[in-house]
């Protein structure tokens, strides 16, 4: 026997970090830095979790990143049927920020590989970071 269908789709309240999402559309990746204690946040956040200040600077993340870890997802979850062939997720360090992104390169990356960050949107129109080998 099957249950009644149940669809869960949420509205995402992004107004306090709208600069980030606008930035992706302009090809820029922003983190935030606390004006009071200097803590850096990526993903960006509007409040400082360390000193509770609400005064943040938006900081652009660019330059050369270094791959710290990666995986190739072979079995995509619900919602990623468009990427049924799989995709590679990377976390790369850019100075004091670490950035997650989809790898845009041949084959698999390696830990320690140098990458640059770009922005773009996937087949469903979701903006994200792509990391390309240098």
């Amino acid at each position: 026997m099957e249950s009644r269908p149940f669809v869960l789709k949420h509205m995402l309240p992004i107004s306090r970090v709208e600069r980030y999402w606008k930035g992706l559309e302009e090809g820029k990746i922003y983190g935030t830095r606390c004006q009071s204690c200097g803590a850096s946040f990526y993903p960006p956040q509007a409040d400082c979790s360390f000193c509770y200040s609400g005064d943040m600077d938006w900081v652009e993340i660019d330059g050369e990143g270094v791959v710290e870890c990666f995986t190739r997802i072979q079995r995509p979850p619900q919602g990623f049927e468009f990427a049924s062939g799989g995709y590679v997720i990377v976390v790369a360090a850019f100075g004091s920020f670490k950035v997650m992104g989809w790898f845009k390169g041949e084959g698999l990356p390696e830990v320690g590989m140098k990458v640059k960050a770009e922005t773009g949107k996937d087949e469903l129109g979701v903006w994200k970071v792509y990391l390309t080998p240098l």
């Binding site: 249950s3 995402l12 993903p43 995986t71 190739r72 072979q74 979850p77 997650m100 830990v111």
Partner: protein, 387 residues
């Protein structure tokens, strides 16, 4: 006031299309109640641990609690992802420790196979921080651990073969555990020939999607004397920790800081300074084979980076320096999220009482450990038990 475990129960793990969540919980509770020799009237508080979402019952604590006969005794519903069971045990433990009640039951239960695999992956992938991980990048739970595996392999030379050896050991143990999801052995060749789920993790590096339940009844020292329980297993160490939701905010991917911190807290409380010399048995959180290798290191069973050699040398097998996951681990016994932490208590209690049959370890110190992680170090729980 000491707190002891006086009764444990565990259902058969596996694809349990034959039972509802409350029915599978009942199997574990009935066994635990019989094992403890207490009546429903003795139990003052019920704690229901279930991660939820994959089961049709979205607010499951009440139906589970009622079906198990505890309407009016709680329930408290707790959730800590894959460490939900340990969090349930902690609530029962701390309620007794605080003197609020003398007897409490922790019920861990999960139905995971009522949705399809793609949906299950989409629920697990939401562990962490949805907006910045799953929404943008389609992270999955195997993917989270695979990222750690890539860093561990690169930094320490850990191999796919060493990871597969964890699967071989745990399947060998599960083959002799009638409650295990997979009661069959796998060869190293079979494990290494399985396809990748999330590179570098293959199908045989992953725990299955399982249904199941476990229950533990805890009591105060005073009540244990009053009831005349002659085989209590005391909780002598408790440790907990956690880490950032976003993986991109972690310092390092070669281990889990939540394990290091939770274990040191539990060791301090239990007076453990040399775990290999003082513990007879450990259950560690092997949701993926790399997780067991990192656990050896982060729990202090070996030095950082030597986990691959620890499994290769047989140190975590029967006859090794500390038998780990003797009932088959999450890897082969199964990993019904809410049940897992309580099922670890079941295993250690059975071992320390000498009731583990053909899977019995040698007892010298009469001490054992449970290590239960939620998400990818998002929650960390360690308990030390002693006779």
């Amino acid at each position: 006031m000491k707190v002891g475990v006086i009764g444990v129960g565990c259902s058969k793990f596996g694809v349990r299309r034959d039972v509802t969540l409350q029915e599978v919980a009942f199997e574990a509770v009935k066994e635990a109640m019989t094992d403890a020799g207490v009546s429903r009237d003795d139990v003052e508080l019920s704690v229901v641990g279930t991660a939820g979402t994959r089961s049709y019952e979205l607010m499951p604590a009440v139906p589970v609690n009622e079906y198990c006969g505890f309407a009016g005794k709680g329930p408290l519903r707790v959730e800590a992802a894959c460490a939900t069971g340990s969090a349930a045990v902690y609530v029962a433990y701390s309620s007794i420790k605080a003197g609020l009640v003398d007897v409490a039951i922790a019920i861990g239960c999960e139905k995971m196979t009522e949705v399809d695999t793609a949906t299950s992956l989409a629920v697990g992938g939401r562990g962490g921080s949805y907006l910045w991980e799953f929404h943008q990048y389609g992270t999955t739970f195997p993917g989270h651990y695979a990222m750690h595996a890539s860093a561990h392999m690169s930094r320490y030379g850990t191999t796919e073969k060493q990871m597969a050896l964890v699967a071989v050991k745990n399947h060998r143990n599960a083959a002799r555990n009638p409650k295990a999801h997979f009661q069959k052995e796998v060869t190293l060749e079979e494990a290494l020939a399985s396809s990748y789920v999330a590179y570098p993790l293959r199908l045989f590096d992953c725990s299955p999607i399982s249904d199941g339940a476990a229950a533990a009844i805890l009591a105060s020292e005073k009540k244990i004397k009053e009831l005349g329980v002659d085989n209590p297993i005391w909780i002598s160490g408790v440790g907990y920790s956690s880490d950032t939701a976003n993986l991109s905010r972690r310092e390092d991917y070669g281990g889990l800081r939540a394990t290091v911190n939770a274990s040191r807290m539990a060791y301090k409380m239990a007076g453990i300074d040399s775990p290999l010399k003082q513990l007879d048995i450990a259950t560690v959180h092997d949701c993926f084979t790399i997780a067991e290798i990192m656990a050896y290191e982060d729990l202090g069973f070996c030095r950082k980076g030597e986990g691959g050699m620890f499994i290769k040398e047989g140190e975590s097998d029967f006859g090794g320096s500390i038998p780990v996951n003797t009932f088959g681990g999450l890897k082969a016994k199964g990993h019904p999220l809410g049940a897992t932490g309580v099922a670890m208590v079941y295993e250690v209690v059975k071992q320390l009482r000498g009731e583990a049959g053909s899977l019995q370890v040698d007892l010298k110190n009469y001490k054992g450990l449970t290590h239960n992680i939620g998400g990818t170090g998002h929650f960390g729980w360690v308990f030390v038990f002693e006779v």
